[in-house]
C-alpha cells in the first residue's frame, strides 16, 4: 500500500487490499540464518510444512531455499529436517 499521502489513508486504519504482509519485510532482526545443503536435501518438504513464517521457497515441488526477507531464524526447519538428512544448518548472521 502506498503510504505516500498520509492524509488520504483509509479511515480507521483499515488496510484495503490483501496480501500486504508480503511487502512488509520482517527478517531484519534474525540472529541465525538457515543454510541449505541441497546435495543432502530429499525434497520431503517437511521444512515447508513446519516453517511458521512461510519462508521456505518451493518451486515445482522442490525445496529451493529461503525467503530471507521474512525468515526469523527460529531454526524450526533445521530441527524438523529428518535426522537421517539434516540438510539445514543454522549459522550466525554476520551482517
Amino acid at each position: 500500500m502506498n503510504m505516500g499521502k498520509m492524509k488520504d489513508l483509509p479511515i480507521g486504519g483499515v488496510i484495503t487490499e490483501g496480501g500486504t504482509a508480503h511487502e512488509y519485510v520482517t527478517g531484519g532482526w534474525r540472529k541465525l540464518r538457515p543454510v541449505l545443503d541441497k546435495d543432502k536435501c530429499t525434497d520431503c518438504l517437511i521444512c515447508w510444512v513446519m516453517c511458521p513464517d512461510s519462508a521456505i521457497i518451493v518451486e515445482d515441488g522442490k525445496m529451493v531455499g529461503f525467503d530471507l526477507e521474512h525468515c526469523k531464524g527460529c531454526g524450526i526447519c533445521a530441527e524438523e529436517c529428518p535426522d537421517k538428512v539434516k540438510a539445514i544448518k543454522m549459522e550466525e548472521e554476520t551482517g
Binding site: I11, G12, V14
Partner: protein
C-alpha cells in the same frame, strides 16, 4: 422537541420503547449481556428474535467486554449492529469502546444511565456514560421515553453517515425513564425502514473478493493521522445531528436539535442540565416565571461532540448559569457539564458567572424545590455579581 403530529399511541416504558425501536430497525446483529436497569431492552428484543419478528442474529455473550467485541467484529464484517447496557456493563466495555470508535464502526448502543460501584447502586446517575465521554463515541442524552425512542432511529443515521462513521451512544435515565411508562407516539415499520434505509459498509470483512485488514498496528508515522481523521469526523457529526433531527421532524412531526431551550431567550439566569431532570427543572422555571422571575433552562441533547459554539451563543448574555451534573468527575474542579460550559464561555469578555452543582447521584431525588433553590441562588449572584460557592453538592 416540538410535537406537531401525534399518531399511533402506546404506553411503554423507556426500555420497551428502545426495544421496540430496535425491532423496527431490525439490525443484522445484536450482541449483549444483561444488566440492570437496561436488562429489559434485550429481554424484549430477544422475544422479537425468538418470535421471528426480526432477522437479527442475537449473540448472548458471557460479558459486556465480549458483547462489545462481538459488536465490533460484526460491524467490521459489514453488519448493522446494536446493543444495550448500563453502568458496570459499560465500564467493562471500556477497552472495546475505543476500538469501535478508532476503527470507525457505526455501532449504536443504548445506555441506560446508572451509577457506578462502589458502593453498589442500581439507580440513575451519569457516571457511566460521562466516564466514557472521551472514548470517541457520539453521545446523545434523552429526556423522555419518546425522545429515547426517536433518538434510536436518528442514531443509526448519524452513525452511518458517510461524513461521520462513528459509534453512537443514546443515553436515557435508569429507572426514571427506563422503567416509567409514558404514552408515546410510535412510527410505522415502513416509516422506520424508509428513514433508516439500508446499510452498506465501505470495507466489509466478509467481502472475500476485496480482502481487508482491520486492527493493524500503526507506528508513530501514522497513528496521529488516524486520530486526526477521527477528531474531524466527530466534529462533522454536529451538523449531521442537526440535519437528521430536522429530517426526522419534517417526516414525523417531532424535530430535534443540538439542545433544548426552555424560556431561555429573555432569562437573567439559567440552569443547564441533561436528560430527565430537565423535566423537573421546567416545573421550577414555570413556578418562578409565574412570580415574575426571569429564569430559564438549557438542556444539551448532544454532549459529544460538544456543540460549544451554539451553547455559548445561547448562554452568553445570561447573567448567572448553574451547570447541574448528575456525576462527580472527581477532578476537584467540578464535573463535565460545568467544565465544558465554563471553558466555552471563556472567550467572551462579558460572560455569565458559572457555578456547578452535583446532584442526584445514585438515584437520589431531585425535586422542584431543589431547582428553585438553585434558581434563587443564581438570582442573588446575578444581582450582586458575587459567587459564594463555585462547586457544591446539592440534594444531600
Amino acid at each position: 422537541m416540538a410535537v406537531t403530529m401525534v399518531k399511533k399511541q402506546a404506553g411503554l416504558t423507556g426500555n420497551s420503547a428502545v426495544a421496540y425501536a430496535m425491532k423496527q430497525i431490525n439490525p443484522d446483529v445484536c450482541a449483549a449481556y444483561p444488566i440492570t436497569p437496561s436488562t429489559q431492552i434485550m429481554e424484549d428484543f430477544s422475544s422479537y428474535v425468538a418470535d421471528g419478528k426480526v432477522d437479527t442474529e442475537l449473540i448472548t455473550a458471557e460479558s459486556e467486554h465480549s458483547a462489545m467485541s462481538a459488536c465490533i467484529g460484526a460491524s467490521a464484517a459489514g453488519a448493522r449492529v446494536m446493543t444495550a447496557t448500563s453502568s458496570q456493563g459499560l465500564a467493562l466495555m471500556w477497552e472495546m469502546l475505543y476500538i469501535a470508535s478508532g476503527l470507525r464502526l457505526p455501532i449504536v448502543l443504548a445506555n441506560v444511565n446508572r451509577a457506578l460501584s462502589a458502593p453498589i447502586n442500581i439507580h440513575c446517575d451519569h457516571s457511566d456514560s460521562m466516564g466514557a465521554r472521551d472514548s470517541g463515541w457520539i453521545q446523545i442524552y434523552s429526556e423522555t421515553v419518546q425522545e429515547a425512542y426517536d433518538n434510536l432511529f436518528q442514531a443509526v443515521r448519524i452513525a452511518e453517515s458517510e461524513k461521520v462513521l462513528l459509534p453512537v451512544m443514546v443515553c436515557l435515565d435508569g429507572f426514571i425513564t427506563s422503567h416509567a411508562i409514558e404514552n408515546i407516539s410510535l412510527l410505522e415499520d415502513a416509516e422506520v425502514s424508509q428513514f433508516v434505509g439500508g446499510y452498506k459498509a465501505q470495507h466489509p470483512m466478509l467481502d472475500t473478493d476485496n480482502p481487508v485488514t482491520y486492527g493493524a498496528m500503526t507506528l508513530p508515522d501514522s497513528y496521529i493521522i488516524f486520530k486526526h481523521q477521527q477528531s474531524e469526523a466527530i466534529g462533522r457529526a454536529k451538523d449531521v445531528v442537526v440535519e437528521v433531527g430536522k429530517e426526522f421532524g419534517n417526516r414525523f412531526g417531532r424535530e430535534y436539535g443540538l439542545m433544548e431551550k426552555y424560556r431561555l431567550d429573555d432569562a437573567d439566569v439559567a440552569i443547564v442540565i441533561l436528560s430527565s431532570a430537565a423535566g423537573t427543572t421546567k416545573v421550577a422555571v414555570d413556578e418562578l416565571r409565574a412570580k415574575g422571575k426571569k429564569v430559564g433552562l438549557l438542556r444539551p441533547r448532544l454532549f459529544r461532540p460538544f456543540p460549544f459554539k451554539e451553547i455559548a451563543d445561547a448562554l452568553k448574555s445570561i447573567k448567572a448559569v448553574a451547570c447541574l451534573d448528575r456525576v462527580d468527575s472527581f477532578s476537584g474542579f467540578g464535573s463535565p457539564l460545568f467544565n465544558e460550559i465554563r471553558s466555552t464561555l471563556y472567550e467572551f469578555e462579558k460572560r455569565p458567572k458559572v457555578i456547578n452543582k452535583i446532584f442526584g447521584l445514585g438515584g437520589r431525588d431531585y425535586k422542584v424545590k431543589d431547582a428553585v433553590g438553585v434558581f434563587e441562588e443564581l438570582l442573588k449572584i446575578a444581582e450582586t455579581g458575587k459567587v459564594e460557592t463555585l462547586i457544591k453538592y446539592i440534594t444531600l
